[in-house]
């Protein structure tokens, strides 16, 4: 693959031994995403532009959140500044900006909280590090709450379990509610509300795309693998990130799912109404938008009369589905209770592999040495399958069934210790490319090690954001964008298909 032209910033060097950088004050103070346009804001129920009296509006919103989410108040109160989180964030490690230390990023909100919501801060602000909510403070919020991918790695190391992601979400929700939302995320959520997916891919285009994939798979394999859309009475509704229809390497994962359904003989369908698994509502901290996006899935499942809902390879979609669907759009009394609700596509495939329902020839992937990138939203605050750690073992077991050569990256960079790809949490946008490249450094460092030591050729992932992010940033580190593959691409390529020539 040719390398895209480099942007105008210094790409960090991959060192032999990873070291924690010395701080560089304001190193990323210039980084901020485009602000949402009035039409992007209003479609989500937010004011179109910065409201008059925004200080009061922001503090009112903060008070509302403190009342609604006990967690926020606990997280703001309980930090003892022990420093355990300081060197755990990929954005700090990649940028050296001290405000990207999770504790410092939280403090941007904590200092305001103290000023207006604690007795000490109201009367003796200087003694407790309390600050007024000024324009400078709000600008810092906008910058640095968009330099956190809500990946939760820091929370694994925090002795109090403070979840930085929730602070970031609260920060973003307050920003949106006073009129300064982020363009990338808010425009996308508006497209889901209007059209049904992040891309704005309308039904005729989706139908055309799926028809093309049927032809392609038949040309390649001879097997008549279907990609059904809006098929009433199918057993399974598959909701998957719309990137699976649109982009590479994602689409090869979608082809993999279709081959699995074909081979298992399980009837399935996609929905043109709920043509998106992703739910950016979580990224901007908006419960109402998250609920509206999720509601489409419930409506489509009832409308199509399916018995099961399976979720494709998407990190945060799985976290929303696994952790929140039940209260957002449950109860799921219209689905077959003998299957997990919801079920991850990896869980679905793994179960078929376990009972010998799929014939797999791993020799077909003998040109590859594969490693696996754990996606943050699947790894932390989530689960897969029926045993603890299933979200780590199940995708690896699928890869090992499909490939003879599998190698894990360093243990402090995998499982619950995994590093974010650098583009999660609603930051996968070109206006943040410097942040994305720098934030990928810890993962790239671990990848480089297994390339050098074990000849790794491919890195598999189960998240659309991870796949797009790595395809974009790996070339900055002189690695090929085509190293990135879907787990279900590996499996699909190794499947012995009925009807194949």
């Amino acid at each position: 693959m040719p390398v895209p032209p480099k942007e105008k910033f210094d790409v960090p060097r991959i060192e032999e031994v990873f070291s924690i950088p010395a701080i560089r004050v304001n190193a990323m103070a210039h980084s901020k995403p485009f602000v949402a346009k009035p039409e992007h804001q209003e479609a989500l129920g937010f004011p179109g532009k910065l409201v008059d009296g925004w200080q009061d509006a922001a503090l009112d919103k903060m008070e509302e959140l403190l009342g609604k989410y006990r967690s926020i108040r606990v997280f703001l109160d309980s930090c003892v500044k022990c420093g355990a989180c300081t060197d755990k964030c990929h954005y700090y490690l990649g940028t050296a900006d001290p405000k990207n230390m999770p504790v410092a990023r939280q403090d941007l909100m904590r200092s305001v909280y103290r000023r207006y919501f604690t007795v000490a801060g109201k009367y003796f602000p200087k003694l407790v590090g309390a600050v007024d909510l000024t324009e400078d403070v709000i600008e810092d919020w906008y910058r640095y709450y968009h330099q956190c991918s809500e990946c939760r790695r820091c929370s694994v190391y925090c002795p109090y379990g403070i979840d930085t992601a929730e602070i970031t979400m609260a920060g973003r929700e307050i920003l949106s509610s006073i009129g300064i939302g982020q363009k990338y995320a808010n425009e996308i959520i508006g497209k889901v509300h209007k059209i049904g997916n992040n891309l704005g891919l309308p039904e005729p285009a989706l139908l055309d795309t799926l028809g093309g994939l049927e032809e392609e798979v038949e040309e390649d394999t001879g097997a008549s693998v279907k990609f059904p859309l809006d098929k009433r009475g199918a057993e399974v509704l598959l909701v998957t990130p719309s990137a699976d229809f649109f982009a590479e390497p994602h689409v090869d994962g979608l082809i993999g799912y279709a081959k699995v359904f074909h081979q298992a003989g399980v009837s399935w369908t996609l929905s043109s109404y709920a043509s998106e698994a992703a739910n950016f509502g979580i990224f901007i901290g908006s419960y109402e938008n998250m609920r509206r996006v999720a509601e489409r899935v419930r409506e489509a499942a009832i409308e199509l009369g399916v018995k099961r809902i399976v979720v494709g390879e998407c990190g945060h979609a799985w976290r929303v589905a696994y952790s929140f669907w039940n209260t957002l759009i449950g109860p799921f009394d219209f689905l077959d209770p003998s299957h997990p609700v919801p079920q991850h596509i990896c869980e679905f495939t793994h179960e078929l592999l376990n009972r010998g329902a799929l014939r797999v020839n791993p020799d077909k992937n003998d040109d590859k040495v594969v490693t696996f990138h754990d996606s943050c939203n699947v790894s932390r605050g989530s689960r897969m399958g029926s045993v603890p750690g299933g979200q780590f073992s199940i995708p690896r077991n699928i890869i090992k069934a499909a490939c003879n050569h599998f190698v894990d990256m360093a243990p402090d960079t995998t499982h619950e210790h995994t590093f974010c790809c650098g583009g999660g949490g609603g930051l996968l946008t070109d206006d943040l490319v410097e942040l994305r490249v720098k934030g990928a450094l810890p993962r790239v460092q671990a990848l480089k090690q297994v390339i050098d030591d074990y000849g790794v050729t491919h890195m598999a992932a189960i998240c659309a954001i991870c796949k797009s992010q790595f395809s974009k940033v790996l070339p900055f580190y002189d690695m090929g964008m085509d190293m990135v593959v879907s787990v279900h691409q590996l499996l699909g390529d190794a499947l012995e298909l009925d009807g194949a020539e």
């Binding site: 891309l199 719309s242 990137a243 649109f246 590479e248 992703a278 796949k467």
Partner: protein, 110 residues
């Protein structure tokens, strides 16, 4: 932001994508390409024209496999793949080619 071509001004978004599809002209595409140090050959135009036709019909840019298949048919099978499209549009065919074609930038996890 705005783009100036032949003395006329056209509205664009922050990244230089045309705000109004109907403003598009060949000169605008050439002007955008020039900014990126890219000279538009006949093969570039095949891609740009296909994007515009597809958008006209479906109100969205084509998915990567739809595009590679169409280009493979027009320019030969050896060119119907992403590798070739990246050679033509090194910033990524989905984004760079859409921009020259006057289409909005694709959104989502892509």
């Amino acid at each position: 932001m705005a783009l100036e071509v032949n003395g006329k001004t056209y509205e664009t978004d922050e990244e230089g994508y045309l705000a109004n599809l109907s403003d598009w002209s060949k000169e605008i595409a050439e002007n955008m390409a020039k900014e990126d140090d890219c000279e538009l050959t006949d093969n570039h135009w095949e891609v740009v024209n296909f994007l515009r036709e597809y958008y006209e019909e479906y109100q969205i840019a084509p998915a990567v496999r739809v595009l590679t298949k169409a280009i493979g048919k027009k320019l030969g099978k050896d060119k119907g793949n992403s590798k070739y499209l990246y050679e033509l549009f090194p910033y990524g065919p989905a984004k760079q080619a859409c921009k020259y074609a006057g289409l909005p930038k694709p959104t989502g996890c892509v």
